[in-house]
């Protein structure tokens, strides 16, 4: 048992590393703080084009769609190596991770031809338009409607929690096309041009003060039927294939989030109730141990999954525990550490100690992380139902026509 690369993995890693050493030099240091969106987009496009030319885009995609036809392990190794550099990240993760696979799986040949290459090259940015104000955890509760008019569909409604909508050229959008069918059955998926008339994007400010998401309003937006993905009424099935990719992406502890080391360091400098350094207090030590167990346990669980991938097997269900453990551990750690710091843990902004400011960010950010990509509650349902085989919750509206459903 070991954590080493298999020989062919080591070889690929060496090639990637050499290429990055050659080509990523300008990303040695973190980018300047407060970069504006246009510059971020320009930098992202430049890097994506470079990667594309070198054959590091679409690593796991079939070659017929411009991919490299390699294994998930190759993709992970590339990602691990790239993450050692401060290359621009995020702009394409949803488009290439979720949208375009849906496009090439369900789109007609012309559409695939038109959109996939430009997306892979980074010339066009994509977003995913699924969630709505009344359809969050219950994604099939979508109300945005698409009505057919000849060769076109007319979309009206509102989407929410859309990352990079403001930077996107296109999106995939799930709409209700038949409200007389039960909720999961009357949905259809489309490609929509985010610059089309009637599309309005509005940033959502979060509790943290940041704005990572948008609301998107559709007001009579027209889409040609050729831009439909999958059959009319099959939108739920199509969306599920998209979401499968999300579950894999949402997982470990955010890269810079404080962990047990933060608490160890902090506890050396503050006092326990008896006046001695808090690092000697057993409640502090128990918290350090529990945080180590949770965070490190998730890392190791991910390594179990990687080992399965490395052997060409399908990973077990164990990685489904990642986010629910990581997010709550972050919140508990931040809360405990800020408590421990008294008034200093409360003073913020320019007046704050940088470590404590990070913990404050973590305390607030973790409240969002416990929700984004599936709430703690939904994830526990998923573990219990999909992993342990327990029956689902009662779903009184499952078989009712959507427009006749009365909430219980």
């Amino acid at each position: 048992m070991d954590f080493n690369d298999a020989p062919q993995e080591a070889e690929f890693r060496a090639v990637v590393r050499a290429w990055l050493n050659e080509n990523a030099t300008e990303y040695r240091d973190p980018p300047p703080e407060g970069m504006k969106l246009p510059e971020f987009i320009a930098r992202s496009k430049a890097w994506q084009a470079k990667k594309h030319a070198a054959g590091y885009t679409g690593i796991t995609w079939p070659k017929m769609f411009g991919g490299q036809g390699l294994t998930p392990m190759h993709s992970i190794i590339y990602g691990q190596e790239e993450s050692r550099w401060h290359v621009p990240q995020g702009l394409y993760s949803i488009g290439l991770g979720m949208c375009i696979p849906t496009v090439f799986t369900h789109g007609n040949p012309e559409v695939v031809q038109r959109y996939v290459p430009k997306a892979l090259l980074g010339e066009e940015v994509w977003c995913q338009l699924f969630s709505e104000p009344a359809a969050g955890s219950d994604l099939a509760g979508i109300r945005t409607k698409a009505v057919r008019e000849g060769d076109e569909w007319v979309i009206d409604g509102q989407k929410v929690w859309t990352s990079f909508a403001h930077a996107s050229d296109f999106g995939i959008v799930v709409c209700r096309t038949d409200p007389n069918m039960p909720k999961h059955k009357g949905l259809t998926m489309f490609i929509v041009n985010m610059k089309a008339p009637g599309v309005t994007v509005k940033g959502i400010k979060q509790m943290s003060g940041g704005s990572d998401f948008n609301e998107v309003f559709f007001d009579g937006v027209r889409v040609n039927d050729s831009h439909r993905l999958g059959a009319v009424g099959d939108g739920w099935k199509v969306a599920l294939t998209t979401l499968m990719h999300e579950r894999l992406a949402v997982g470990g502890k955010p890269r810079y989030a404080p962990g047990y080391e933060t608490l160890m360091k902090l506890a050396k400098g503050v006092e326990a109730p008896d006046g001695s350094p808090a690092i000697g207090a057993s409640d502090v030590r128990q918290k350090i141990a529990q945080t180590y167990i949770n965070d490190q346990g998730i890392k190791l669980t991910q390594m179990r999954a990687l080992s399965a991938l490395s052997k060409g097997q399908v990973p077990g269900p164990e990685q489904s525990i990642s986010k629910v453990v990581v997010a709550k551990t972050m919140q508990d750690l931040a809360s405990f550490a800020l408590d421990l710091s008294g008034g200093d843990g409360f003073v913020a902004g320019a007046d704050a100690d940088p470590e404590l400011a990070k913990l404050q960010g973590s305390y607030i950010g973790s409240a969002g992380l416990r929700i984004a990509g599936g709430t703690d509650e939904i994830l526990r349902n998923i573990i219990a139902e999909r992993v342990l085989g327990l029956p689902g919750d009662m779903r009184p509206d499952k078989d009712t026509p959507f427009n006749q459903s009365v909430p219980a």
Binding site: G136, G343, G345, V347, D351, P396
Partner: protein, 365 residues
């Protein structure tokens, strides 16, 4: 057995909740959050003073109503529940110190102004590097203090500060007239309540009682702040429960799901435990009960537990919308941190509780 608020206290609480439901709450809190907003709602403060809330605890001899700590608790809970943008709890905490430990002259100097609302008072025990009220680095020369106090709630609008600093027998309280004092605003996690930094550089100060009085004041402050926390936690719980009754997912109100329902039940359980200890604290203050030290600590710990849980799970059960800037969830989530900082953390108070139990045991032995 009469383990309950007096009818008079309940009536004042009713009045306070009614007024603050109208004049305070999350709407005004949102306005107060703006960077250029005033450090307090002066119009509301005027109304509060006119209604005699700041006079409640002030002895009649000093222009007050001479009411009990029960009335103070009702006011603190109402303030906590409404997030009222006024220095009410700060002033009540300072008043309690003056009532407990002030000389006749000190009371005569400060209490009439407090009663009338013209004088706003704050309390300043916290220091950079201090994690609890036990740690005080500010030094006293007898008639002047030197040190830094931060974060101090409502410092910007206060006229007088009750300051903890080293004394002959350990930390004790002092009175500092803030006229001409060196103060500055400090940013905090709570964007509504304003906090400041008080720099004492041989600043004139008068001792307020002795080291024992400081410890006794901490007990009383813990009970009063427990009520503020109970008020805030209760408001967060009410917000969650309301949402759970109306929000629909998967064809049913989310309040039908046990994951949601049981978290609401746990909020209620934690709140009722906090209420029990806080009420016990009032009973002990009212009767000079020997158990106050342990009871106050229990009230502090239980109320912080209730507040943290209600504030955190309120966001959680709202889902995505609860994490937006537009949602009111953030007020309780942020205030949670303010009330931890207001008198030191859970761990220190839990330890104080056990120390009190040990002392009682060894006294009994």
């Amino acid at each position: 057995m009469n383990f309950d608020f007096s009818d008079e206290a309940k009536e004042l609480g009713e009045q306070a909740r009614k007024l603050l439901a109208e004049k305070a709450g999350t709407g005004p809190a949102r306005k107060a959050m703006a960077a250029d907003a005033a450090a307090m709602d002066a119009a509301l403060w005027k109304e509060i003073a006119e209604l005699g809330w700041t006079a409640a605890r002030v002895p009649e001899a000093h222009g007050g109503l001479g009411l009990t700590v029960e009335e103070v608790a009702q006011l603190a809970e109402a303030a906590g529940g409404s997030l009222a943008h006024v220095p009410l709890v700060s002033t009540l905490l300072a008043t309690e110190a003056l009532v407990l430990a002030g000389t006749e002259a000190q009371q005569a100097k400060w209490l009439p102004g407090i009663a009338s609302g013209e004088i706003i008072a704050c309390v300043a025990w916290s220091e950079p590097g201090a994690v609890s009220p036990a740690t005080v680095k500010t030094v006293s020369s007898g008639s002047a203090l030197t040190g830094v106090k931060q974060p101090v709630a409502d410092l910007a609008v206060a006229h007088v500060a009750i300051v903890a600093a080293a004394g002959a027998d350990g930390p004790q309280l002092y009175i500092v007239d803030l006229k001409g004092a060196q103060t500055a605003a400090v940013e905090t996690v709570d964007l509504v309540r304003r906090h400041g930094k008080l720099t004492l550089d041989n600043t004139p100060a008068e001792a307020l009682g002795n080291a024992g009085d400081y410890q006794d004041w901490l007990d009383r402050a813990a009970v009063i702040l427990a009520y503020e926390a109970i008020g805030t936690a209760g408001a967060a719980m009410a917000m969650t429960v309301d949402y759970a009754k109306t929000r629909v997912a998967f064809g049913q109100k989310i309040g039908r799901y046990q994951a949601v329902k049981h978290k609401c039940a746990d909020m209620y359980i934690k709140l009722e435990l906090a209420r029990a200890h806080a009420l016990h604290g009032l009973a002990m203050i009212g009767t000079n009960g020997a158990e106050l030290r342990q009871v106050a600590a229990a009230a502090r710990v239980a109320s912080l537990d209730a507040l943290a849980y209600c504030a955190e799970e309120n966001v959680q059960l709202h889902g995505g919308i609860g994490f937006t800037w537009e949602s009111d969830c953030q007020f309780y989530y942020r205030r949670n941190r303010a009330l931890v900082a207001a008198l030191g953390p859970r761990g220190w108070w839990a330890d104080r509780l056990v120390r009190a139990l040990e002392q009682r045991n060894s006294a009994a032995a």
